[in-house]
């Protein structure tokens, strides 16, 4: 299959799935499930094919003009395919999870339709070859996640959706203005054409700095950088798979990925460092990391705590971007994947507790480790990873961030990292303590809020399997980080191939 066709086929798989799901009647549960899983598998294998091809030096690109001097460009480069791989892999798990989670609930057709649309947008974001194409899919992502956020249709969900839209659409607009202005200034910049902006003279530098921050403001909303993070905790009312999606794969990652693209592929890291933009990024990221952790500490419910944890964790990516040097870059790129694996595990677990036992508050978790050992194990893996305990992948991110900070000449960042680790420990370890070491209803103390006993295992197999799989992946990705095609190895490959002279 030729390069461009393969790209279009990958993108088309999800789009077509969305259309087909909308065409299927609401009752067609089996067909929809088969379609979902089949598409997810096909997409995963197509992406794997491209990964393999890329590693052998093949190129995949397709483009056509939309306007004079502006093209719609899809191109698979190492960085993009990395994100595509993450989204395709996690997509499979999320789909499986969602099928189990939404069993017997209304509006499944709508849910899965937009779900597929959402994955198509994420894939588009990862394969976009210039800012225009990126923006197209970025906004499409916003639109396709809105019905998912308000899926429950309660007034709380609708209010959250309103906040979500306010933040994201305004940001999209800001982003668009920034992109248009950049386009006016420099024309259509393909990702990787770093020399275009680098050649601007000193008189345009101020303008470039200004545009950079406009664009960062646009991306920062989705990446939930403080103070633009307000939508994220509120969007927690969505069903668990959607939260997992928002936090781990699609939305926040799209923002972070945008910043990655902006810094590495549009401005170029050298120019960014020269313009002094990276200090600002590091400062913003540091504030976000600490603020997110502090706010997480104050939460009494599981999902909001995880949400604020996301705020904090995604800022690690931005922090890594801000650390000038290959190690910082590796940290940023690999954390993009690592955080996805760990956070999705945590959200799956939170969903499992809520579905099986009706648990939403942290103090209801006492002794849940006995009732749901596997889920709790997965949760522990995720939480320890977030704290940065090896061999879970989170440690690797912290390692590269820390060493990258030294390389970039900012040792104080280590203090931020350690403080964040301690705060992470302060809000995750009590949960683990409750799970494993407190007596709970299964020890004869109290009762679960709403026990449902789904399935023969500790919960529904559709819910349990993806949870365990992502936990296992977070563990394996850490332990086997030196293996070829591990996230870390691929990130290093991207850095070596693209960002070092």
């Amino acid at each position: 299959m030729s390069g461009g066709l393969l790209l279009l086929a990958t993108l088309g798989t999800s789009l077509l799935t969305a259309v087909l799901i909308f065409l299927l009647p609401e009752r067609a549960f089996r067909a929809r499930t088969g379609l979902n899983l089949g598409a997810a598998l096909i997409k995963l294998s197509l992406v794997a094919w491209m990964v393999w091809g890329l590693s052998r030096g093949r190129g995949y690109a397709v483009e056509f003009p939309v306007l004079e001097g502006l093209a719609f460009v899809l191109r698979a480069d190492a960085l993009g395919i990395m994100f595509a791989g993450l989204s395709s892999l996690l997509w499979l798990f999320t789909t499986v999870y969602a099928i189990g989670y939404l069993e017997d609930s209304p509006n499944r057709k709508r849910f899965f339709g937009f779900f597929s649309l959402c994955v198509a947008s994420t894939l588009g974001i990862s394969l976009a070859g210039n800012l225009f194409t990126f923006l197209v899919f970025y906004e499409l992502l916003t639109l396709s996640t809105y019905p998912l956020v308000v899926h429950r249709g309660t007034s709380k969900a609708l209010a959250a959706g309103k906040v979500y839209l306010r933040f994201t659409l305004t940001a999209g607009l800001v982003l668009m203005i920034g992109m248009v202005a950049l386009h006016v200034l420099a024309g259509d910049i393909r990702f990787g054409q770093r020399e275009i902006l680098a050649e601007f003279g000193p008189e345009d530098r101020l303008l470039l700095v200004g545009l950079f921050w406009v664009l960062i403001a646009g991306f920062g909303v989705k990446a939930a950088l403080v103070p633009l993070h307000g939508w994220l905790p509120r969007a927690m009312v969505a069903p668990a798979p959607v939260s997992a999606l928002l936090h781990a794969v699609a939305v926040v990652k799209a923002g972070a990925f945008g910043i990655v693209r902006l810094v590495y592929d549009v401005y170029g890291i050298e120019l960014s460092a020269e313009l002094g933009l990276l200090y600002g990024l590091v400062a913003v990221a540091s504030v976000t990391i600490l603020f997110g952790s502090l706010r997480a500490l104050a939460q009494q419910e599981l999902k909001p705590r995880l949400a604020y944890s996301t705020v904090s964790q995604v800022a690690y990516i931005v922090l890594g971007i801000g650390l000038f040097g290959p190690l910082g870059t590796i940290a940023a790129l690999s954390h993009l994947l690592h955080q996805g694996l760990m956070k999705i595990t945590l959200f799956f677990c939170a969903g499992n507790y809520a579905e099986e036992l009706g648990i939403h508050r942290i103090d209801e978790l006492d002794g849940a480790g006995r009732r749901m050992p596997l889920t709790s194990l997965a949760f522990s893996v995720g939480a320890l990873g977030m704290i940065g305990v090896p061999p879970v992948v989170g440690f690797l991110s912290k390692w590269y961030l820390g060493t990258g900070a030294i390389q970039a000449g900012m040792p104080w960042v280590i203090a931020v990292l350690v403080a964040s680790s301690l705060l992470n420990a302060a809000y995750f370890l009590p949960i683990l303590g409750r799970l494993w070491f407190r007596p709970g209803p299964d020890h004869g103390v109290g009762a679960w809020p709403e026990e449902r006993c789904l399935g023969r295992l500790e919960t529904h197999a559709w819910l349990l399997v993806p949870t365990l799989a992502t936990a296992l992946f977070s563990l394996l990705a850490g332990m086997l980080a030196g293996m070829p095609f591990s996230p870390l190895e691929w990130a290093s490959r991207v850095v070596n191939a693209e960002y070092l002279p």
């Binding site: 909308f22 306007l67 004079e68 197209v136 499409l140 308000v150 609708l158 309103k162 203005i177």
Partner: protein, 490 residues
């Protein structure tokens, strides 16, 4: 009695005029034998856009077509350039969609065939008038076509016969008539000053001056009134809210745009350098964007939301005037493309939106927003169509609205006209606000279930097709825009 100036193009000219005038007999036939199914309507109308496509392909090869009819010593000029051809294609597609939709609509609202039959000749008249406006190249033809269009539109608006529709229609009638008198006065001055009516001649002869300026001001005032540009939009919303859905769709999509088209043609030919006046028009457009958006946001009924949205969206078109006046060629090219893309995208999306809204209202039996609760579950297709159409209106990708907004922003930034950037941002946010207000109402899940009367599937399908076309125009904008660029600015 017809004398094409260039006899070698006679085949194309004949085909063009046949396709322009064909809607009249078709309308009359339909009046006599009202169609009961959508398919015959579609089949009868389908050749027209195909013919136009063929003409467009010829245009790409030969450049523009032009000619004149001689009518008792009177030379009536016409020309078919890329812009006119594209607009003609758009018109024919929308008319076809509306005609097919109307068949279903009649069944759904259960109006007697006899009462509905009046729709068809008026539709034919409207189609012919619109076609004439796109190709007319002199003020007399334009005047006649404008009046024919206005009267047909008024007639269609009155068809429901309710007090509300009659009042609104009466107001529309009066203002349309006065607007055309203002236009006629302007034409009188131009004729008096330069002694000719054909656009090309006027563009060549006319020099900017007091008389031309005043004439343009009078013309513009009349056309603005007909195009429902703020603050002269007062007649539009009641008319739309009370008219039948296919009529509203056509009116919002095409009729108001025709006046804008004429204004743009004249302005570009006669007073392209009038900066201050162009900025006033841009300012009025901005106010229209804000006012329309605001009113749509606060409106309480679905069709009112859509109608107000038309007022707001028309404002975007007006931004073309300051961006075209006295700016560099690059800015002008961008603004020119942006305007027509916005017009086409809005036409498709607005028609789709009216139809989707009409379907929702028909199915629910209520028109208040609050009564839409839960429709996402019972009427997913209509709501989806509404949503897709709204994507274009909001200017979100990948839609024609988005691409047009991108061009407009690019033009504004390149020209350094920052106020329009602010207006675009505010307008987009307002659009988002009112669109999602509707969707939010529809997504409420905990409302009691109500009786829902599903509309015929074809109606949803037509609306969906139009909405998707608006979407496809976003990324596929290069084909029409390349044609436009080749045609150049007037």
């Amino acid at each position: 009695m017809s004398v094409p100036l260039d006899p070698s193009l006679s085949v194309e000219a004949a085909v063009l005029w046949l396709s322009l005038l064909a809607p009249l007999p078709l309308g009359l036939v339909a009046w006599r034998f009202p169609p009961r199914r959508m398919l015959p309507v579609l089949l009868a109308g389908a050749p027209l856009p195909l013919v136009t496509l063929w003409l467009l392909s010829r245009l790409a090869v030969d450049g523009g077509l032009e000619g004149a009819w001689s009518l008792g010593g009177l030379l009536l000029h016409w020309r078919l350039d890329a812009l006119a051809g594209l607009l003609l294609l758009l018109t024919q597609l929308l008319l076809l969609a509306s005609a097919a939709y109307a068949v279903g609509h009649r069944r759904a609202i259960a109006v007697a065939e006899r009462d509905f039959a009046g729709f068809w000749p008026l539709l034919g008249g409207l189609a012919a008038a619109l076609g004439l406006i796109w190709v007319a190249a002199d003020l007399l033809t334009l005047y006649a076509a404008l009046e024919l269009m206005g009267l047909c539109a008024v007639g269609m608006m009155l068809l429901p016969g309710t007090a509300q529709a009659l009042t609104a229609g009466m107001r529309y009638l009066l203002y349309a008539l006065v607007g055309s008198l203002a236009w006629l006065l302007g034409v009188a001055l131009l004729l008096g000053a330069w002694g000719r009516l054909d656009l090309a001649g006027l563009a060549a002869d006319a020099e900017p001056g007091a008389v031309t300026g005043i004439a343009m001001a009078l013309l513009a005032a009349g056309l603005l009134l007909k195009a429902a540009i703020f603050p002269l939009h007062g007649w539009l919303v009641p008319v739309h809210a009370s008219a039948w859905t296919p009529v509203s769709a056509l009116h919002g999509a095409l009729v108001v745009k025709a006046s804008f088209f004429i204004l743009m043609q004249l302005w570009q030919r006669l007073v392209p350098e009038a900066l201050a006046a162009a900025w006033l028009l841009g300012g009025l457009g901005s106010l229209a964007i804000l006012w329309g958006g605001l009113q749509a946001w606060r409106a309480s009924e679905l069709k009112q939301v859509v109608a107000w949205s038309t007022v707001g969206q028309l404002g975007y078109l007006m931004l073309a005037f300051p961006l075209l006046a006295g700016t560099s060629a690059a800015v002008a090219t961008l603004a020119w493309q942006a305007t027509w893309l916005q017009l086409a995208g809005h036409a498709l999306a607005k028609a789709a939106m009216f139809m989707a809204a009409g379907n929702l209202v028909l199915a629910v039996g209520q028109s208040r927003l609050g009564d839409l609760a839960g429709t996402s579950r019972w009427l997913p297709l209509s709501l989806m169509t509404f949503g897709i159409a709204a994507v274009t209106l909001m200017g979100l990708p990948p839609s024609a609205g988005f691409t047009a907004k991108w061009l407009l922003l690019q033009a504004a930034i390149l020209a350094g006209q920052w106020p329009w950037v602010v207006v675009l941002v505010a307008g987009t946010l307002l659009t988002v606000a009112y669109v999602f207000r509707v969707l939010r109402c529809a997504l409420v899940e905990d409302a009691p279930r109500r009786e829902v009367r599903p509309v015929p599937g074809g109606m949803d399908l037509i609306a969906l097709m139009l909405a998707l076309a608006a979407l496809a125009l976003g990324l596929g904008a290069e084909w029409p825009l390349a044609l436009l660029r080749e045609g150049g600015l007037p």
